[in-house]
Subunit: 337 residues, 2 copies
């Protein structure tokens, strides 16, 4: 079967460009034992992908030069040599940025398109939702009446973080870029306040929206915004480090938080999270979140871009703050009838 | 009674200089109700004093211009209007950088010079000892077999942190300035390794001394050394932020830890501590530490400089790394027989 694929051609210096990719067409191989052929329908675009493009030790191996770019995906099983997976099953896995994949069934799990649109398994019902759930509840540990601030608030993780903090009875303030996103946070998701980092001073915004200081900060962006929040944290505040998208394309060293001594003054804590550590508890989390979705307390927003060939530009939307909700690529299959 | 005092004359920009102090002689006032007149024998010199000289919000009020400089001290009661304190009692309190003090007895507690030399109540039996005890045990939470690194290792807090970590069965590595201090840590205090930051590359030293990475880092210095340690931390490492002496005299912004995303990669935690939060448990801690001292497991080292007039230069020894052990000023009393 003809398979279009995006391979990592070279490691980016700064922001990824078209030259870092090669877009090739290959033939899918024959299936080995306990393998499946998957037709990929949706590809998840995540800030973490930028890190996977770098060489060097991290929480996961880098993508090798000449390898298919790693990505979370959902699709349909077309062939299977594993009795646990049948033709017609829909599945989630890291199948990569390509049209089809032949993969071992290890780490693959089924999803049910009758319960939720397929792409939602890449968002609120997938890794971003899990990241938000465990990050805010276990590490942030928000208590009723506390103030929770989240950056990247209109993104895949941020929208879920804020809504969960609302469910827990917190005052929730989102930091996002642009009036549309800020309006959405307040009017659609029920946030108590929003700060438009593209059009206002974040420090002033924090002063306005967090009159009682900040008890929990869930950080997706790093950089100046992290430093601004550090000036407003309360005694025993918890800062959850989920990402630092403002720094991922740096060619200069990462900007460390100059105001980190606020941790000392306030006996506060800054802690990093990676979702995979909670794999054993995904099921329980998914069940609770599904309940919130059904009760209308947790809303999903996806930003769908169509066409596999648009992968390089679509990925860049994340770093430019152009996505609004969970960014996914809908894969076209020109060779199918 | 004639009383020589160091007052804060102006707020320093960068390192404090002689011009920031006025050395005056005043007459001690008459005692009010529940007050004592104390003859101060030893003054504690601590990195935190630099912060107290700055204006602005912190964990404690700044010292006002024209006020006696705040300091932890021990001395002897000469007069008392509080039935709980008698002439001849020895006491600890924040009596300031002066020869005598007339103070309310609130927050003052007695110390016993027959159990330990008086200056020890400013070191291992005082705030530095308490800081080390609660910081390493409660926040660092070192487990047997783990690797614990401490910076400012030959200082008042660092020496105690390392020895407690040894008691808990850890591999302990100290970062200190100069061969003498490094030798002392290993030969006298039983540290497993030492890194001389003045004469070797700290990253290379960490690689050599911490072959299994770093599980707990107790940071007294901040700056480049914090960044170096961040590159070597293990999964679920704990970083205790006790101070950042390398940054206290900065005229440029504090150097934030550029490698803080290592917290994310390693799901590690960075947490600030201030000793006063543990006041309710000082007694229990003092008892346990006294036991270790008697068993020879916990050794004290003080660096005594004589003469109240030498306060400004002596304070600077802290920032130049010239002290070796707990730095105290022995107060002279030229008017006494």
């Amino acid at each position: 079967m003809q398979n279009r694929q995006y391979l990592l051609a070279s490691r980016p210096v700064g922001a990824p460009t078209k030259d870092n990719w090669s877009f090739v067409t290959t033939e899918t191989p024959a299936l080995g034992e306990r393998e499946i052929l998957v037709r990929i329908d949706y590809i998840s675009l995540d800030p973490a992908m930028r890190g996977w493009m770098n060489d060097g030790k991290s929480y996961i191996e880098p993508v090798g030069i000449g390898e298919v770019m790693r990505a979370g995906t959902v699709g349909e099983v077309l062939e299977s040599t594993d009795p646990n997976f049948a033709k017609g099953d829909f599945v989630y896995g890291h199948f990569g940025v390509q049209e089809y994949a032949v993969v071992s069934t290890k780490g693959v799990h089924k999803v049910d398109p009758s319960l939720a649109p397929l792409q939602r398994y890449l968002g609120v019902l997938g890794m971003p939702g899990m990241t938000a759930y465990f990050g805010i509840l276990d590490t942030g540990n928000p208590q009723e009446g506390e103030t929770v601030v989240v950056s990247g608030a209109a993104g895949a993780v941020g929208t879920v973080v804020g809504q969960i903090a609302k469910i827990k009875g917190c005052r929730v303030v989102g930091i996002a870029g642009g009036q549309d996103k800020c309006d959405y946070l307040i009017n659609e998701l029920g946030f108590d306040g929003a700060i438009d980092y593209k059009n206002e001073d974040v420090k002033k915004g924090l002063k306005r929206e967090c009159p009682n200081g900040v008890d929990v900060y869930f950080d997706n962006v790093g950089g100046e915004i992290l430093d601004d929040v550090l000036t407003r944290i309360n005694f025993k505040a918890r800062i959850v480090i989920c990402g630092a998208i403002s720094q991922y394309n740096n060619t200069t060293p990462v900007k460390g938080p100059s105001n980190y001594l606020s941790l000392l003054v306030n006996r506060a804590r800054m802690e990093g999270i990676v979702v995979f550590d909670n794999a054993a508890n995904y099921g329980k989390a998914a069940q609770e979140m599904a309940g919130w979705i059904m009760q209308g307390k947790l809303k999903a927003k996806e930003h769908v871009v169509e066409g596999l060939e648009n992968f390089p530009e679509t990925l860049m939307m994340l770093f430019n703050g152009d996505n609004f909700g969970k960014l996914v690529l809908k894969v076209d299959h020109p060779n199918e009838a």
